[in-house]
């Protein structure tokens, strides 16, 4: 499984400046790539890439398909703080896991507070390199990775086969524009806040080649584009009774 296009970014930032795109009314599904949709996505990703730091709170839902076709959902609350170019803290708490990721520009730590285990490893010096390293060497994918990559736009639009503007929509009361995209593996939708800040408010990925086409959804309820983040927020200090464990090399850990 190489790293190709499947786009599952989890947070696809897209953004639609209020006056940037001409929105079409609910249109029939298009098989072409509308420049307006791509442009709106570009605005959102550029906006995020340009933020020196940000914090976001979100809720995620993932579907699992059982052998008889029944689908189950599982939810997590995720909190992410990013300071470019080299700091990240992300917490993921929910039905299935309870994790804290910390990157201080030197090392990456994963803490499992419930299990009382943690692992720390030296990591490359920038967010982008660290994310690549984590994925390739450790089989770790940090929450909100898609938001963090500066080239998120290129990553998300690789292999695009369709793109269109669905129209105005509301996400938890926030006025947004909804965009729909397709590539060979997945269909995805993104809701971008209208107004001065083209923030991603919702993101849905449909894995159309899997049985029952399970979906992943994230709704970002809170954005802070100018948070006060102290360095300490990115420093990992293990709990006294936590046990340090080693990472299993990615090859052994599994897939990718």
């Amino acid at each position: 499984m190489g790293t190709k296009r499947v786009l599952l970014g989890w947070l696809l930032p897209a953004l639609l400046a209020s006056d940037a795109a001409v929105l079409l009314p609910m249109t029939a599904q298009a098989s072409e790539i509308e420049p307006e949709a791509v442009q709106a996505l570009r605005l959102a990703t550029d906006y995020l890439a340009g933020l020196k730091q940000f914090r976001a709170e979100m809720d995620t839902v993932i579907e699992f398909v059982l052998p008889d076709g029944q689908k189950l959902q599982s939810g997590h609350r995720v909190s992410v703080a990013v300071q470019r170019p080299n700091k990240l803290r992300a917490e993921r708490v929910g039905d299935i896991v309870d994790q804290v990721f910390t990157f201080d520009g030197t090392s990456l730590s994963i803490d499992l507070p419930k299990e009382k285990y943690y692992a720390t490893v030296a990591a490359p010096p920038t967010l982008e390199e660290m994310l690549d390293f984590a994925r390739e060497k450790l089989d770790v994918i940090a929450p909100a990775s898609d938001l963090i990559y500066k080239n998120a736009f290129e990553r998300l639009t690789e292999g695009l086969t369709s793109a269109f503007v669905v129209g105005p929509a509301s996400v938890a009361g926030v006025a947004c524009d909804q965009l729909a995209f397709r590539n060979a593996e997945v269909d995805w939708q993104i809701w971008i806040e209208r107004g001065k800040k083209p923030l991603v408010r919702k993101f849905v990925v449909t894995s159309k080649k899997m049985p029952q086409s399970p979906q992943f959804m994230v709704v970002i309820s809170k954005w802070d584009t100018a948070p006060k983040l102290a360095d300490a927020a990115f420093s990992f200090v293990p709990a006294k009774n936590a046990l340090k464990i080693d990472f299993l090399p990615a090859a052994a850990a599994g897939k990718n």
Partner: protein, 160 residues
């Protein structure tokens, strides 16, 4: 993705996600999905929390050739975990998936886990112990070394 679906179609095997591998990230919650409820999941979105490029849907695992949830539930936690690991190593090859199923069966039959075997849940009655400055969990006569696999803790059968 192809490599994921191919075995999926071929193997009578099913991608069973015994520990919800793959949720927002990767193997989720191994330890948290206990022996009590081992879900057999045939599909889930590929690493949703992740980034583009991480195509792996593959923390999913092959549990058994019959793919029945009830069968999976019958297997004990170790069996499931072993199948999980075996499947991961099988790299989604159908043939190897079958092997994983066989291993799951063997484990279910209470065969002692081989050194190097990785499980996501421990049997009951384990205690923490330190040998040569290394922490282990001792369960009966078997030693497990807690290890981080992706963003999840797993336990590697070890020979201290």
């Amino acid at each position: 993705m192809g490599t994921f679906f191919k075995p999926f179609a071929l193997a009578a095997g099913v991608f069973a996600m015994i520990s919800f591998a793959g949720v927002p990230g990767t193997m989720l919650g191994a330890g948290s999905v206990s022996e009590a409820e081992a879900f057999v999941v045939v599909a889930h979105p590929p690493r949703p929390m992740a980034v583009v490029g991480a195509v792996a849907v593959t923390t999913a695992v092959v549990a058994s050739t019959t793919a029945s949830a009830s069968a999976a539930k019958q297997a004990n936690a170790n069996a499931a975990a072993q199948a999980n690991q075996a499947a991961a190593q099988a790299n989604q090859s159908a043939a190897q998936a079958n092997q994983a199923a066989a291993e799951a069966k063997a484990a279910a039959a209470k065969a002692p886990p081989a050194v190097g075997t990785i499980v996501t849940t421990l049997p009951a009655g384990c205690s923490q112990t330190k040998l040569n400055n290394v922490d282990y969990l001792r369960c009966g006569s078997t030693y497990y070394k807690p290890t981080m696999a992706g963003d999840t803790a797993v336990f590697v059968v070890s020979q201290p």
